[in-house]
């Protein structure tokens, strides 16, 4: 079985080489709390991998570790075989800080993706402009290229940030909850855009999300994060009752129906949807529930 469970600590050096991203036994403690506990997984060239877990599972911390913004208390991360992956990673944060009405256009932000870390005033050149135009076209952002970023919708800002992250041609693209705060239509557009770009640009993509269903059709593999521990593999290998129950440390049900998956944990008399759709809790038992989210789902034993 190709599942690498954090608890088994079985990452072979041979498996890791040739990977775009290798996370080996990463642990992070913040203020005495164990945020990440011996997390191991790898992302191969051109793969689209989902980093799935409920809020507070450690997804953002893990992304910050990969970006080199969060020191680890144990383990290591290598990108393209190097410990320092600066220049090889593009990053799309969950939210940008820019206020509305600020004079930064979509094309300015994409341009900053090329050389935003350099000193001095940039000199406009035809070549630079063409590259920016090309990138804006690739994410279907040409029609709002000259609009202020702060005034764009959430989905439009995501596109601009994806272009910003991709224009320097990174090997790995990290996206922190790109689908949160988006309506279903915009989320689907962003997902198909990412799937298209992964193939065309030969870039590996790691997307964090608390809802895995929108990503199921496009994910090559999944890294499932619960309470700071991770299991990784294909969805068939990871999204199983035995694997996830071991990860959570208590029994969970994996419910399939209409091509959707729900991970359900039991808490007292009620139950809690741990991953799948919008994380939620509801009274009663799943198989007796008349709750809309679960109608038509069957427990697979």
């Amino acid at each position: 079985m190709a599942v690498t469970m954090a608890v088994s600590d079985s990452a072979q050096p041979g498996e890791i080489s040739g990977q775009v991203l290798a996370v080996e036994g990463v642990s992070v403690q913040l203020a005495g709390r164990q945020i990440l506990d011996n997390v191991c997984f790898a992302v191969g060239p051109g793969e689209l991998v989902g980093l799935i877990g409920s809020n507070g599972a450690g997804k953002t911390t893990l992304l910050r570790v990969i970006l080199g913004l969060q020191p680890v208390t144990g383990g290591r991360v290598s990108i393209g075989g190097r410990a320092k992956g600066r220049g090889l990673v593009g990053y799309v944060p969950q939210k940008i800080q820019l206020d509305p009405d600020m004079p930064v256009r979509a094309r300015d932000l994409v341009g900053l993706g090329l050389d935003g870390n350099r000193l001095g005033i940039p000199f406009p050149s035809r070549q630079r402009r063409l590259r920016v135009d090309e990138m804006l076209e690739a994410v279907d952002a040409t029609r709002f290229a000259n609009q202020r970023v702060g005034n764009l919708s959430g989905g439009e800002q995501q596109r601009v940030m994806i272009a910003h992250a991709l224009i320097s041609q990174p090997k790995l693209l990290l996206l922190d909850e790109p689908l949160a705060n988006l309506d279903i239509g915009s989320a689907q557009e962003i997902i198909s855009l990412l799937a298209k770009i992964t193939q065309r640009q030969q870039v590996s993509v790691l997307i964090s999300a608390h809802e895995m269903n929108p990503l199921l059709p496009v994910m090559d593999r999944v890294v499932y994060l619960a309470a700071g521990r991770a299991a990784s593999g294909t969805t068939e290998e990871v999204i199983r009752e035995d694997v996830l129950s071991a990860l959570y440390g208590h029994h969970v049900d994996v419910l399939h129906g209409h091509g959707r998956v729900l991970v359900v944990g039991h808490a007292g008399d009620g139950f809690e949807i741990l991953a799948g759709d919008e994380t939620a809790a509801a009274p009663g038992h799943p198989d007796h529930s008349a709750d809309g989210a679960l109608s038509g789902l069957e427990i697979q034993q």
Binding site: L98, P103, V104, G116, N117, Q147
Partner: protein, 290 residues
């Protein structure tokens, strides 16, 4: 044409030495304020600018007591206050607002004491008016090198850190992941804001200095969406309004009630306010028309 010229520029305007100093020092202060102000607004640091302006009153009133150029006082307290604000952590809005409020209060309390001493030692109210509302025609030509010496580093900070400042205003994490030293960049920007505020304090006064800092920038970002063009536009607007203010103030020497001229600061700040309202209205009209 020449009659309009004569109407605008009162006799002796171009021969007056205080006018020359006002045009040069005021122009430099305006240029720095416009450029730095654009980034102050862009980075959402107007609040820091206001706090630095209040604390400049403390430094200015202290320098009067010590009989040194108020610019040293303005800049000295500004740079120290900027350092303290950075240490407090300008990233947590609530803690920042509280801490800044307390430091601001303490600073203005000291300013009240210094101004009291200033007035009792010189037995005039000139010091208070000069510090609070500026006094362009009394700057003195020996202050010009000082104005330039403080202005150039502020402009250099913005020119050198132009892209990192823009990038970290969009997302600190993205900038940090690209290798930008976000904290250091932010501190340098805050120092540039402190210098801009102290220059503006010399020309339009400590209290009105933020009007010159954020006013032209606020107008500029309604005129253009490009960060580069907004910066240039803010600088041009700031310099133009300052110079026009100097001209009008010179003209006002013949105006009632006492024929000793209205304050330059009044003209500059009023021009900025009118310009802002105008830009706001035309901006709205443009949005409505598509």
């Amino acid at each position: 044409m020449s009659s309009v010229f004569r109407l605008l520029f009162a006799p002796g305007f171009f021969a007056s030495s205080p006018v020359h100093v006002a045009l040069v020092a005021g122009g430099m202060a305006a240029l720095v304020s416009g450029v730095v102000g654009t980034f102050t607004v862009l980075r959402g640091q107007s609040y820091s600018g206001h706090a630095l302006a209040d604390l400049a009153v403390t430094g200015g009133s202290a320098s009067f007591l010590a009989s040194i150029s108020p610019l040293w006082g303005f800049a000295g307290t500004g740079v120290i206050a900027a350092g303290i604000m950075d240490m407090i952590g300008i990233r947590r809005p609530r803690g920042r607002d509280l801490a800044t409020g307390i430091v601001r209060g303490a600073g203005l309390g000291l300013a009240a004491l210094f101004l009291y001493w200033d007035t009792t030692s010189t037995s005039t109210t000139g010091a208070a008016v000069t510090i609070l509302f500026g006094s362009m025609f009394t700057i003195g030509s020996n202050a010009v090198p000082l104005v330039v010496g403080f202005g150039v580093p502020a402009l250099a900070v913005i020119a050198i850190l132009y892209r990192p400042l823009l990038l970290s205003s969009v997302s600190a994490d993205v900038a940090a992941a690209r290798g930008v030293r976000v904290r250091l960049t932010g501190l340098a920007c805050l120092m540039a804001i402190a210098l801009a505020v102290s220059l503006a304090a010399v020309t339009v006064g400590a209290i009105l200095s933020t009007a010159l800092l954020v006013g032209p920038a606020a107008i500029a970002l309604r005129l253009t969406s490009s960060p580069g063009r907004a910066t240039v536009a803010a600088a041009v607007i700031a310099v133009a309004m300052t110079w026009l203010g100097v001209v009008l103030a010179y003209d006002s020497f013949t105006w009632p009630p006492s024929h000793d001229g209205w304050p330059v600061s009044f003209f500059i700040v009023t021009l900025i306010f009118v310009g802002f309202i105008g830009a706001q209205l035309t901006g709205r009209a443009r949005r409505v028309n598509g």
